[in-house]
């Protein structure tokens, strides 16, 4: 993984000193509250319902065991002993105290971590595929490009005061695992017909009140022109993005209002003026960056192992986990093993300090000392030898981290909701729990197959509800928590926004509604190979609507 050199370290250390001084001046009454707010946001610090919330950056989701141990230390020393992995591959702590935050940032800097630009109206953490570098369907490892972009975006002097937050995601496969098209910029690494590497650029996606799938604004951008093109997009946005209304300030609104064609024209005009300038990448810069992400020294004999198959025969629980929580690896005899953070009774994405320490140890033992965070709020050991899978699973099971539900109904995405967030209209963690209870039976979940439920406690859409196969959005109705349901969303290459089922549904009935939706799918699917999304796209909303709002005695209250 990328290791800081003395320059990266110096920048992060200088940032800690800067924020320490800003905090000191704020506490001494020398910085107005609203201005300190903007400054602390750029260091990941929100003031939430109960306390500050600190969001720590995990660039493109990649963590070393040493960094994970530091997160455990922070959870114990400054927080209540746990952290929460987010939908953008970051981690949040919900209970830090403002005067201690500079110390937390200093601790993070000691392991090459930071909270820079994890909130505020600036360029946020660069995210990518959690299987980068190991996925079978990958064109090229996207992480060197992510890191180049991270460095360009870090403390960019021109783009620290944008109209609104700005998120960039990279994908290099035909199955987009980074939800790139609901980002402000989605970068798809591609090869053109001549075999040259480059990018397809999508701009103007986003969730929230006005969800949009980003349109393609450039089919092929040559490899060395990445940063100049990003800079051109950002400059157009910084100049022309709306600042009169916070709800219309994202770049998606600018793209929509001027139209993708005109927007593209403006970006291209700006780019023409800078593409041959200092931002043009040098081939050696790319080579050097790729050197940070070389393959591990894999065991060439890993594929000869026979114990894995024997264990699957002898232990059905292990077999179930293997079936659900492992993904294929390029290297024979290796797998990517998913750690489910969606256990019953736990808020999705939550991990305790003890679990973090244990995960760090497992990473050292079985996965070259690295872990990844996924945008589905799980973790991955990306490089596990077949023969190590069984001991890994045994330990994960002891830790309560081996729920075999990756990709299944209870592997749902969920924001912190009303329990933690000051923006939320409604709870989401409790609803997740209801759904867990209702679909407890794993065999039933396996029969339903791949289905993505995504849930947000408010319109801001942190839980990505608009691109859930089933989306659930909390709304406030006269002080009561109600939920709007959408069907048919997707954040993958076939990205689409979900359609509303109809009137919102009462808290007590939401799990029942999900069960009815699933019931329609099971009745109507042409075979067990037809996914929920495929069935929905074939049969449309009507059958679902009829069942959800059926006026029999058990009808849901709408």
């Amino acid at each position: 993984m990328y290791r800081y050199d003395s320059y990266d370290q110096k920048l992060v250390d200088e940032r800690v000193a800067q924020f320490r001084d800003q905090t000191r001046r704020f506490l001494a009454g020398q910085i107005p509250e609203d201005e300190f707010r903007a400054l602390r946001l750029r260091n990941g610090l929100y003031i939430q319902r109960f306390a500050p919330m600190l969001r720590i950056s995990i660039p493109y989701g990649l963590l070393s065991s040493k960094q994970m141990r530091m997160l455990a230390h922070i959870a114990r020393k400054y927080d209540k002993g746990y952290g929460h992995f987010t939908t953008r591959q970051n981690i949040q702590f919900n209970w830090p105290k403002l005067p201690e935050v500079p110390d937390i940032l200093a601790d993070l800097a000691s392991v090459q971590m930071h909270a820079i630009q994890t909130s505020g109206n600036c360029i946020r953490n660069i995210t990518s595929d959690h299987l980068a570098g190991v996925a079978k369907d990958e064109l090229i490892d996207p992480r060197p490009y992510c890191e180049i972009t991270r460095q360009w975006a870090t403390f960019h002097p021109e783009f620290n005061w944008l109209p609104r937050k700005f998120k960039i995601a990279f994908s290099s496969t035909t199955t987009d695992r980074a939800a790139t098209r609901v980002h402000d910029i989605g970068v798809h690494i591609v090869r053109n017909d001549a075999g040259e590497l480059g990018y397809s650029i999508y701009v103007g996606g986003g969730l929230g009140r006005m969800p949009m799938i980003a349109p393609l604004i450039r089919e092929f951008l040559p490899e060395l022109d990445l940063l100049s093109y990003l800079e051109a997009v950002l400059r157009v946005y910084n100049r022309l993005g709306r600042r009169d209304n916070i709800h219309r300030a994202r770049v998606k609104i600018l793209v929509k209002e001027v139209g993708p064609a005109k927007f593209t024209e403006m970006v291209e005009a700006e780019w023409a003026k800078i593409r041959d300038g200092a931002l043009r990448l040098q081939p050696q810069d790319l080579d050097l960056m790729r050197g940070h992400f070389t393959e591990f020294h894999y065991d060439p004999a890993a594929g000869n192992d026979t114990s894995y198959h024997q264990r699957q025969q002898s232990d059905s629980a292990f077999a179930a986990w293997s079936k659900r929580n492992l993904k294929p690896h390029r290297q024979p005899g290796y797998s990517a093993a998913f750690v489910s953070l969606k256990a019953p009774g736990i808020a999705p994405g939550d991990v305790t300090a003890e679990q973090m320490d244990a995960l760090a140890e497992l990473a050292d033992l079985y996965s070259f000392g690295e872990l990844r965070a996924t945008h589905d709020q799980n973790l991955v050991f990306a490089d596990v030898r077949q023969q190590d899978l069984y001991p890994l699973w045994l330990r994960l099971r002891e830790l309560g981290l081996a729920t075999p539900n990756i990709g299944l109904l209870t592997d749902l995405i969920c924001c912190p909701g009303l329990d933690f967030c000051s923006l939320a209209n409604a709870g989401s963690i409790g609803v997740a729990q209801d759904i867990f209870d209702r679909f407890e039976d794993l065999d039933y979940q396996h029969d339903i197959g791949e289905i993505k439920i995504k849930m947000s406690g408010c319109m801001n859409g942190c839980g990505h509800h608009t691109v859930g196969h089933i989306g659930i959005l909390g709304v406030d109705k006269k002080g009561e928590e109600w939920y709007q349901v959408t069907l048919g969303g997707s954040a993958e290459n076939d990205a689409s926004l979900g359609d509303r089922t109809g009137p919102s549904i009462a808290r007590a009935d939401i799990a029942e509604a999900v069960e009815r939706i699933v019931g329609v799918y099971l009745d109507q699917r042409s075979s067990s190979d037809e996914s929920f999304l495929q069935t929905y796209r074939r049969i449309g909303m009507q059958p679902f609507k009829e069942r959800i709002y059926a006026s029999d005695s058990a009808g849901v209250t709408a």
């Binding site: 050199d5 320059y7 990266d8 110096k10 920048l11 200088e14 940032r15 000193a17 800067q18 800003q22 910085i31 609203d34 201005e35 903007a38 400054l39 109206n121 460095q151 360009w152 870090t154 403390f155 960019h156 002097p157 021109e158 783009f159 620290n160 005061w161 944008l162 400059r235 910084n238 100049r239 600042r243 003026k273 800078i274 300038g277 200092a278 931002l279 810069d285 050097l288």
Partner: protein
């Protein structure tokens, strides 16, 4: 009275901002609105007056460059803490057109914690917000000693440093 930092020093402000209905004072350097500049600049320059122009943060430097290039000073506005439009104007002036006159920032966001980024974008003079302590503001230019991005200043670049140590 707001303090002025120019080229890293606290200096006396030698320019007066002139309202559109005010007449030119004898022998003073002044800053006039863009509208007035468009109408009268040639006139004043013929009289060897030193006249700067105040650029609203909503206009395009690319479109206006032909009439801006002769100005000895461009005044950019940073009206609120979160309004960063003029950062792009500054970089366009300095980086794209090599503008060599004074680029001056004024407004509610010209405070300690934005100065270094403004400097990086090519701004060399700062009309500090009234509540700012000019002496303490000078510290702002030392917050960061290196940078990842080439911009309009001379801060050492990480990429160049790396090439040197390679």
């Amino acid at each position: 009275m707001s303090a002025l930092i120019r080229n890293g020093r606290i200096e006396a402000d030698d320019f007066a901002v002139l309202a559109d209905d005010q007449t030119f004072p004898e022998g003073r350097k002044v800053i006039i609105s863009l509208a007035r500049w468009q109408a009268e600049a040639v006139l004043h320059q013929a009289k060897n007056l030193i006249v700067g122009v105040h650029l609203p943060n909503t206009v395009s430097v690319d479109e206006l460059w032909p009439i801006l290039q002769s100005a000895p000073l461009v005044l950019l506005e940073f009206p609120a803490f979160g309004d960063g439009r003029a950062y792009s104007q500054a970089r366009t002036l300095r980086d794209r057109y090599g503008y060599s006159g004074e680029i001056r920032a004024f407004g509610g966001a010209v405070v300690r914690d934005q100065l270094q980024a403004m400097q990086r974008c090519g701004i060399d003079a700062f009309v500090l917000r009234q509540d700012q302590d000019p002496q303490r503001c000078l510290d702002a230019f030392k917050d960061f000693s290196i940078a990842y991005q080439r911009a309009a200043d001379r801060m050492p670049l990480v990429a160049s440093l790396r090439r040197r140590t390679r």
